[in-house]
Amino acid sequence: MLEVIGLRKVYRTDRREVEALRELTFTVGAGELVCLVGPSGCGKTTLLRCIGGLLEPSGGTVRVDSAPVAGPPAGMAVVFQEYGRSLFPWMSVRDNVALPLRQKKLPRGRVNSLVGEALQAVGLEGTETAYPWQLSGGMQQRVAIARAVAYEPSILLMDEPFAAVDAQTRADLEDLVRSLWQRLGVTILFVTHDIDEAVYLGQRVIMLSASPTVIQDELTVDLPDKRNQLHTRADPRFTALRTHVYEQIQAAKIAAQPSPGPVR
């Protein structure tokens, strides 16, 4: 379970303060898949780095399974947007997936079987000895997902993981995330700026305001658990939900502009 309580982040430079996160409180229950969506520049990455223990918040606490986060928590894996910069280019696909497991001091046999299973789960059998940069963008992001899955986290953070891949690959990867989530029972917090993606993937969608960020609204996605790119997206309920999220994001954007001056 992931609890974010009164989280606040202010960046201080010599001359001025920038308030990125004002006050964020939400919970992601064990085994839940929650999507965070917000207008661009709303501090999603700041929030994610605070949750991941990579950035110290200015106030508030983050708890993972009731233990406060100070530094990267052991049971958490992160998938970043920039797959090209999050895989080690000097290591083969297999070593990229295996390195965190070796750090955990797992026995060699266990490492090998976890790596094999994870690569199979994301459909990358046979690429073990390739370097990441020899693969397409979508495949590289699959390697990053395999690495996260093999780590056996209780919580998986995903920071706009599909923002940099093409639309068809993106649909495949969305389905992959849903099937992995259903199979492994892992808790997922999925950050995205794509409203359709948030509604399609999540059990709940949390909408953020523009920076300084607060929670704009929250929504339970009451679509059937079995989702499908074709039928789910054509479902009238899906359309209604995405309209709601869209309106809230628009409202957040308008609220962010201090005085709507004349259009030049």
């Binding site: 991941g52 990267p72 999050s86 750090q103 940069w133 020899q134 780590y151």
Partner: protein, 255 residues
Amino acid sequence: MIRRLLMVVSLPAVLFAIWFAASLSSENFYAPPLRTILVAFKDTWTPDRLRADVLPSLGRLLAGYALAAVAGVTIGVAIGVSKRLRAAAEPVLEFFRAIPPPVLVPVIMLFAGIGTSMKVIVIAFGCVWPVLLNTVEGVRAVDSVLSDTSRSYGISGAARLRHLLLPAASPQIVTGLRQALSIAIILMVISEMFAASNGLGFTVVQFQRSFAIPEMWSGILLLGLLGFALSELFRLAERAALGWYHGLRSAQRKG
């Protein structure tokens, strides 16, 4: 493959032929015909001579170079990861780097005598700067996403050094090592010209002082060949160590 080899060999062959033809009827005592130099080369650089003069030179070169590589990478990593250390050390480093190492030969002679250790220290002192400064830059430039990834997967301490910092900085470190190699050869010769009883630099100066001009030229030729052989060896080692880097670069260029 054969075409590449031809490309590599053809220009030196042409230059050599021009030198050979142009100097054929040279009467100048100081610039003898290449033919004479080649004969002198064969007579001078016998296996015994190579063992007595070239091996000690190479030994000093490698010792000084290795010392500089180890010290440069170690100190460079330390400075690269610590902002505070960097702020303190950078002006000092710039100062030392600005000193031409040959100037230090007389100074180091005072402390380390005229033996092998003096030459090794001179070579190490000259070679350490490019390695050190490039390592600092390489470690500083480690990608922030990669660094975050490592941290969130608990890769810290020695594992961070081994799996993240050193490989990420390795292209820069190799650049430093390549610059250092040519400096090492120069300093090897210079330190031997100052004070030595054997070695390539010493032998060339001896030939010059005793007016054995063709032999002197042959020594210079040998130095050139040696430098070429070392840089080719370096290239092979680099290709093996940085294969991933060249692959990554060409993959990025293709987009």
